[in-house]
Symmetry: C2
Subunit: 635 residues, 2 copies
Amino acid sequence: MANFLKRILLGKPIRTDALNEERLSDRQALAIFGADALSSTTYATEEILLVLVTIGTSALYFSLPITLGITALVLIVALSYREVVHAYPQGGGVYNVAKANLGELRSLLGAASLVIDYILTVAVSVAAGIAALTSAFPSLIPYRVPLGILAILTLMWMNLRGVRSSGRIVIVPAYFFIFAVLTMIGYGLIRYATGNLPVEPIQNGAATLVDTVTFFVLLRAFSAGCTALTGLEAISNGVKAFQSPEPQRASRTIQRLSLLLGVILLGITFLAFQTRVVPTADETVVSQIARTLLGDTPFYYLVQIGTLLILFLAGNTPYADFPRLAALLARDGYWPKQFSNLGPRLVFSQGIVALSAVAILLLAFSGGYVHTLIPLYAVGVFLGFSITQLGMIVHHKRNLTRKKPRNPLSSFKSLSINAIGFAATSVVFFVVLFSKFLDGAWILLPMLTFLLIIMTKIRSHYSQVDRALSPERALLISAPSQRILAVILVAKVDRRAIEGARVARGLHPAAVKALHIAFDAEAGEQVKRTWENFFPDIPIEIRINQFREVIPPVLDFLAEAGKSWTGKIVAVVPMLVLQQPFAEFLHNKTGTRILTAIREDPRSQVEIYEVPVKLKERRTSPRRDRRGATGSRRP
Amino acid sequence: MANFLKRILLGKPIRTDALNEERLSDRQALAIFGADALSSTTYATEEILLVLVTIGTSALYFSLPITLGITALVLIVALSYREVVHAYPQGGGVYNVAKANLGELRSLLGAASLVIDYILTVAVSVAAGIAALTSAFPSLIPYRVPLGILAILTLMWMNLRGVRSSGRIVIVPAYFFIFAVLTMIGYGLIRYATGNLPVEPIQNGAATLVDTVTFFVLLRAFSAGCTALTGLEAISNGVKAFQSPEPQRASRTIQRLSLLLGVILLGITFLAFQTRVVPTADETVVSQIARTLLGDTPFYYLVQIGTLLILFLAGNTPYADFPRLAALLARDGYWPKQFSNLGPRLVFSQGIVALSAVAILLLAFSGGYVHTLIPLYAVGVFLGFSITQLGMIVHHKRNLTRKKPRNPLSSFKSLSINAIGFAATSVVFFVVLFSKFLDGAWILLPMLTFLLIIMTKIRSHYSQVDRALSPERALLISAPSQRILAVILVAKVDRRAIEGARVARGLHPAAVKALHIAFDAEAGEQVKRTWENFFPDIPIEIRINQFREVIPPVLDFLAEAGKSWTGKIVAVVPMLVLQQPFAEFLHNKTGTRILTAIREDPRSQVEIYEVPVKLKERRTSPRRDRRGATGSRRP
């Protein structure tokens, strides 16, 4: 039943040899890897304005210099990541860079920051997408959370099915968004140039700058705007997906993406300032700009649909990245190993489901509002940036000292770029962390600590298992003591018991015993008599349990036997197999519970011989079957 | 963890030999078995009035003759049940009487009607108790359903704990109710006799009687009032609980109970008519009478508390009866046999939980209103009455014809009483069924049919299992073909595989094979090489599965082997046992899933030898342990 549903929802399982990584053209790569970064432009300006407006609308002027600063940061980070792409053409991002250069702890810290980053990307992008939708259709506002959950479930379903050739499909919404937003910005600038937009002079702007309170607010506004950089690292994680020559193409795509990002960011902030937009709870800034410029025309709705699409696409990016990171961590032993299993559709199903589950929880608890999640978001991203750049510095240094580089000048140039990148991103990391600490960014510290502890605990568990299971150890400890004590568990003297006795004798045991647990002496006596009638040569032990429990006395018996018997003990457990729907509701299922209990009992080391007794005989021997059927009438 | 919680909630498990049935004095028995019947008086009048009021308030006058008729019926049924008590002093009620006299089908019909009756008693009594509460405290009206569910959960908890000496406790609320209600009736009658109650003459009462519509309404009102008889049979189910001489004491108690019932019923109806009470949705009739007579005094609240207590007590009655009936049915093979297991506190836990679950569902779906459930209730009860009386008629006839009774006159008298009882109850059954058919009583027919089908299906399943498991059959079909093919399932060539190989060799097999499922050829080749290194004498089969599944190829291999191998096949499954909390989240649990799949596979008949490989060694041999630990460094 569950299998049938799975088949319907996910489609037919795919063979492993159908796995071939699709290579992306530059245009496709820009759409796929750029979606996350581009989508940030739809809420970065709003985040800046939200902070500035707390000290008055006149302070909104500062959004312009702040955005210029952020754009400069975008270019620095982009340049730094071009170096990453050339140095690590196999992709993998911060975890790989840090593992190669900075050791276990920092690589895990990088991985942990990525994990948090990916989860937040899904939740924030979906929430922002729903905000774009509810801005255009305010009647949907009460349904924010259910709509968001529906969107995440759709992403999960799409990814569990493993939509093939996703590259070709996703370029449509990405370029639709780029086209719609650039057109709007261009139209706005033309109207500004022709004097069709209201431009009022700003008062007191420069005067308040010296105020320290204002300075701190500006810092917070800058931190808030840094969400614009989220997703910029995505290309470095997926270099292998590019067509050859991969590093060159990836590098070129980073360059284009950063320029596009800068233009859109500056354009939106400029128009927001010129149209005197103030952020509100129910309509996004981009929607307000579009409404002011375009009115309630179809063009307005096109911009909103573009925004919704790019955000949905951005929410899809972690579905490509997180399951791969989790599988990588699982292979290195830091994550439950199920995450490295390829599901029926050749995707890492466990990672996809886990990501969706956590994102849904986050969305539900934050009530579907973006702003509560964003403080967390930027901090994690900049932590990842900093660790990557630090790793790159170590990488270049090692190159310069150990190997003799063919072109030391170029290597030195790369080192300088990453050093600047590290300086910029680490400073911004601390700025963002401290300026947003009380807004909720503090929670990142316990979260990262928790993830680090979990990952190292998992690793030590797997090492312990590996050590315990090593074949050499086995050869040493498993003495071939073959003196078997067979214990037949007897529920009732019926076919099961007879099959059990037959099997027990076949083990050639040194000793054989039967064990029956009775709830009162009379019933026990009767089983004993019947048993001795059938098997006078096998002694049966009857234990009376006054608490009407079967499992504890069985375990007690086996533990006691284990103390006195020097060889090994085999519990022979005949199991009734029903093979009928609903029939299991009519039986106690003591059999399977006993199997688990014996296996898990720490007091004894008992092997279990399970004899399935099926209600229906095997189909292959119909003659035997018939004889059995008539045999049931007493001969 | 679950066990700990269970221990806290239910208390320490009780030994079987602590089981001794407590005998009840007449006074205790009247309280325990009478609660159900007495509690019916709190809503029977209301049900009558609810029907009458549909044709106008003047018709309320008819409540008096109708109640007189119902009181007569009470006395007839009581007389009939005195016969049951004498004939079946072992108790058991309709199921036992019908089984002895009417054959399987009618005894099951009786049992089914009892099952439905018990469930409805819980739901109706609790709902009516909550109605008494909300009549006194109208602010609680919105919480009807949660309060009702809480009450049922409390009943469940009390009964799962198995409250001892319940007899002594319950007499308090029962006599409290009897005292409060009789006092109120007495006070009302004194005020009526002294002319302190408003008595208006009734117009047109006699004139409308000839109208057929009115006649039908009167019939429906009578049917509605028949709920007063529910619970009257309870004493006959528990004769064994009385002190010696049981039948005499039980018979006397029935007599007292029926008289008390008649007095209270007539009293309430008379006062309801004299105080001109009209039923409303938010206040019960008894509450209205009490409020009219007593005002908002503490005496009013005493009546309401008494009503609440007796109803709660009535809701408790099925918890004594249903689990015992279910256990009886389970022992006869008509009900899942788990229902005959005595739980840790010496009660039939499964029956208690099942009863509560269904009653909660019923309460929730009916919205906590009594009136929606009552049509069902009376029909089921009268079906049970009729079957019992029919069974008694057969019983007496058999006594008169087969055995020679010492006192034929007394036997003939008994026969007449039960014949009158049968005539009365069966006529009322059809009246109630048809007059309430469209009000929801129709649902009883599919419900009874469904229960009958289920019970006979269960019975035939158990017979099939018994036949299949009969020892004679086993001796015939289990040929001692001991040529074993051992198949070792290899997940990885580690300690598990080595233990598996050791065990397989110990089976003295005619042939032994290893099986490994790989997901790609390269990985498979590597396992093959390592294996051959360790066990050059055991051939290993590597199967590549392109769908990354382990279980289906294992089953296929075993099914194929079963076709060619004439002896028996033993699958040797080494199982990693973790014995650490949370550790199971870090493993695939393929082992246990394989065990189940092999056991259930209809294509093959494979025995399973499970070798638990524990992470931690047995505590008893510390020296061996240390040797193993150092051995893990390659020697």
